[in-house]
Symmetry: C2
Subunit: 403 residues, 2 copies
């Protein structure tokens, strides 16, 4: 296919692998002696390096956030995962900002993770890859900023688990971030969130092809388990009403979920009766073909362990007493994974810490996944906020040029 590239796209992009030789001590106490981070950049870094934005990905994301990869001389069919927001004239405007996106440590898209060869053993890390926390990620991202010679991000931005990294940036490196944009996130998981993660993990680890994570050496792959894990996850990313909308359009029964009313017959067996079943199976299977099961296990633990209040006697507001960065918190009405209530709690916590916070609560049927969707009021809100960030950036730039 030779389809053209949309005008508001960052175009064809090329990932870059950055090697870090300095050992990274993790929160667990374990040490990664050296590692690689796969990154992608959009736009141009300005002279005084004040226009840089860091994008943090969620559970299944990677460095490829916008634009297209070139495959065999042709443009890829699908743009990066946050292409709705990143590009010329889009909320994270690549004509204005220098935007950096990376695959986090422990991932499976090029950065060092379970599928990487452990230099000490000559074999893939597999299940021996250490548990990584959000704090560890942010430490590795700070090293990346050093490498790129970016002292301070104009903004660090992320949705879901990405939003947790943004919070951690504001806590760990308060002087290195001017704006923290936290979307569809929460300052820690609820028991229900952890429960869903645990079921997902069990579905992977009880797959007989898992072999305690040593499936690479066995020539197997826990595809069924990872498919199941993703199906469970996927249900929690959508809202009940959006699923009904998507799969219940037949007006004859007021929503039949794909039941075949032309024949009026149900299977009366265990084959698929409803579109929602085949949709979920398709989603789970295509995900499990492209993601590493050990990475999935690892990153669900990263989610479970996030709880920055632990270091502040349970009072999260104390975590935000330092630094001057401003916050934008965004939530979506139908997100039941991290509902608006959790974001409002976060806003209150930030206000208690006397921080400047803007809050956007967006009406949307899109559930948790709404942060990836082109919801007009959401995109407009982000654009408005980012134009303020841009103004500050240019004012700074002029001031610094004048000085």
């Amino acid at each position: 296919m030779t389809s053209t590239i949309p005008k508001d796209s960052v175009g064809i992009v090329k990932p870059e692998l950055i090697h870090f030789d300095e050992a990274l001590t993790l929160r667990s106490g374990k040490v990664i002696e050296s590692y690689d981070l796969m990154i992608e950049c959009y736009g141009e870094l300005n002279q005084d390096k004040s226009n840089a934005i860091l994008i943090c990905h969620a559970l299944s994301g990677d460095h490829h956030a916008a634009g297209y990869h070139e495959l065999e001389g042709k443009k890829d069919e699908k743009p990066g995962w946050w292409d709705t927001c990143i590009g010329p004239g889009k909320p994270f405007d690549s004509d204005i900002f220098f935007i950096v996106s990376l695959n986090n440590l422990g991932g499976c898209s090029g950065s060092t993770g379970p599928t990487t060869i452990n230099p000490e053993t000559g074999k893939a890390y597999g299940p021996d890859f250490p548990i990584i926390t959000v704090r560890d990620w942010v430490n590795s991202q700070a090293r990346l900023a050093d490498h790129l010679e970016i002292d301070q991000w104009a903004a660090v931005i992320g949705g879901s688990l990405g939003g947790m990294q943004v919070l951690r940036w504001a806590i760990s490196y308060p002087e290195r971030i001017r704006h923290a944009i936290v979307i569809a996130a929460a300052p820690k998981l609820s028991a229900q969130n952890i429960a869903f993660n645990e079921v997902a993990r069990q579905s992977i680890t009880t797959d007989p092809d898992f072999h305690q994570g040593h499936y690479y050496e066995q020539g197997t792959y826990p595809k069924k388990g990872l498919t199941l894990a993703r199906m469970i996850g996927h249900i929690t990313y959508l809202s009940d009403s959006s699923m009904n909308e998507k799969f219940g359009k037949d007006s004859l029964t007021g929503g039949n979920f794909g039941r075949d009313l032309s024949t009026g017959k149900l299977n009366f067996g265990f084959d698929v009766d409803f579109q929602v079943e085949s949709y979920l199976q398709y989603k789970g299977e295509s995900f499990s073909s492209n993601f590493d099961a050990n990475s999935y296990l690892l990153i669900t633990k990263t989610l479970d362990y996030f709880d920055p209040a632990v270091d502040y006697e349970g009072d999260l507001s104390k975590a935000f007493l330092h630094g001057n960065c401003k916050f934008l918190v965004v939530s979506f009405s139908s997100d039941w994974r991290f509902p608006p209530e959790r974001s409002r709690e976060l806003v209150n916590t930030l206000l208690k810490a006397k921080r400047q916070v803007s809050y956007l609560e967006i009406e949307s049927d899109g559930g948790h996944d709404a942060f990836l969707l082109p919801v007009p009021r959401y995109l407009e809100g982000l654009s408005s906020y980012l134009s303020v960030v841009a103004n500050e950036t240019f004012t700074n730039e002029k001031t610094s040029h004048a000085s």
Copy 2:
């Protein structure tokens, strides 16, 4: 143990197996030539047989709804699954009513189901047991009523899938039911409900010990798959807030879900870190030791297929145009499986059909499972309603004695 039996218990109860020789034609077109139903009865049937109540069970329920079984001459440790509601002086008062509870066809607690020997083959039905719908169940329950010589139930009562049977009674046998009590139910599943059921089924059928349902013959059992299925189900029975309440009491972090703060350590591995994980695993495993996987598969399909509006061009109110039974609909604020909204829709539908409906929306943190819990306002509401049913019953009785 020789603990005494509480005064408000129906006491030691004995199940009874009833054999039916008349063939039952199912909605699928398949025929069960003969079958057994395991039942339990509490209280005494009055002379004119007007005080009978039928209890319909949900996905994992059975005939043992109240009182205790005698095990080796001693009382069982746990009473029946709805003992909070059934007994002397309780809402379904066994001093007033004759209460009948049964294990439904396709179940695994004594009634004919997948574990039963198929007389035609001499082997267990297993996966060849036909798909059973709520309508089929209600038809078999009507045969049970015939057997017990009960022309009309004073009330048919059920929660969740039990409530769907109640609705089906009001549609299929409008003259044989005076009161329909529909608790924590919905007139059909949402796409999300079906999605969760599908994931549960996949987790069973992809277990290598499942052997396409012929695990009895293989001497195996898909325990891991059924455990996972139940874990998923269990999350949907509880509310997010009740899980936080149960597992997040440590005030140090404002809810730590069992994180061991005495040592301050996380595992940094894939062992259990949080109580909610071990709780769910325990619940799943103990369930899977006592339930048949083929029955579980079957009954999730029974849930998915329930949609009585299909026979009425999608207008459910037309299903309720016949009969005079009165309705009590009950929902719970934190039930996200069948939320109050779904019950209010049902109430509106019944009003559209000009039926008499009472509606109780109960504030409770208990989620879907609240219908099994001793929530005071709920039990009081049921008691009040059932006292009206009792008054009618006795008035009828006096009238009929006088005639």
